[in-house]
């Protein structure tokens, strides 16, 4: 799975997520990636999220919207992502990762799997990471 979130100079956000799904999946199986609220969400009143990981688990907790719910409740984006990923792990034993940007420009890349390649560009600088 791949994904992106962005905040533009007008203060608007967007997300995009795309995937081939699970290797050896049943024909017709669909995970979270095309499902708004799970594979991603964007609302300029809050921020944007793109998700990756075990699709069925992400669908069960509506991962992207859950993270933005926590942001709405006043959590910082990193804490919101950790809280939601932790909930997914404890509730349905699902692992995954997310990238989040708030409408104020705060951002985070978080995951519970071993690895998730990510990169962020802001202020002319590029940050990136791979392992926890």
């Amino acid at each position: 799975t791949v994904g992106a979130v962005a905040l533009d100079s007008n203060g608007d956000v967007a997300y995009a997520t795309s995937t081939g799904g699970l290797m050896n999946k049943m024909v017709g199986r669909v995970g979270d990636s095309p499902c708004v609220g799970s594979g991603g969400y964007a609302d300029s009143a809050m921020g944007a999220v793109s998700s990756t990981g075990h699709g069925e688990s992400i669908l069960k907790v509506n991962l992207a919207r859950l993270i933005l719910f926590h942001v709405q409740q006043g959590k910082a984006v990193g804490e919101a992502a950790d809280t939601a990923l932790g909930y997914m792990k404890s509730k349905v034993k699902g692992e995954g990762g997310v990238i989040v940007v708030s409408n104020a420009g705060d951002w985070a890349a978080k995951w519970t799997t071993e690895s998730m390649p990510w990169a962020a560009a802001q202020d002319g600088k590029v940050h990136f990471g791979l392992h926890r």
């Binding site: 290797m23 995970g31 799997t113």
Partner: protein, 167 residues
């Protein structure tokens, strides 16, 4: 507002060491392309589409060219996009034989009153929109073909565990 773009290349349980640098280069290239769109005054929606298109075209990632294979050895892809300005969104699922499902998802958002088109309907819509149809084989990498074979042999020998395969 100070523009920012983030990209990811998929959560994974393990990444072979020889792949790490190529993944780093891929996500940096995608983030840089998205950021360029923003710096030139483009919208967040254009930036995320540009970034994901680059990752779909990169065979190292599980999307577009390089997507993993289903049980029949073919590629079925899912994608979605959303504009935070007005919550408009578009998505496709079980899409086949197109290079960039994210661009088709955006067309669903902008050219239809719907949010999600599946399989045969997505293919008909792509055709109507003039999206080029490519041979499904073109999306398949030799590594993914081999990985499917290994996975099939493994799942024949043991109970399949979806948690090992994060997607």
């Amino acid at each position: 507002m100070n523009p920012v773009v983030l990209v990811h290349g998929g959560a994974s349980s393990e990444i072979p060491q020889d792949l790490e640098e190529r993944l780093r280069q891929g996500v940096v290239r995608a983030a840089t392309a998205g950021y360029k769109v923003l710096k030139e005054g483009g919208r967040a929606l254009d930036a995320v589409e540009a970034a994901v298109t680059i990752l779909e075209d990169d065979p190292e990632f599980n999307a577009g060219h390089g997507a993993v294979l289903n049980a029949e050895g073919t590629v079925e892809m899912d994608a979605s996009i959303m504009d935070g300005r007005d919550l408009s969104s578009g998505a496709v699922c079980a899409a086949r034989c197109i290079a960039n499902p994210i661009q088709l998802a955006r067309l669903v958002m902008e050219k239809t009153p719907h949010c999600l088109l599946t399989s045969h309907g997505a293919a008909k819509f792509a055709c109507a929109m003039g999206v080029p149809v490519i041979p499904g084989e073109q999306l398949i990498t030799e590594r993914n073909r081999q990985d499917l074979e290994k996975e099939k042999q493994k799942t024949d020998a043991e109970t399949p565990s979806p948690q090992k395969n994060q997607g």
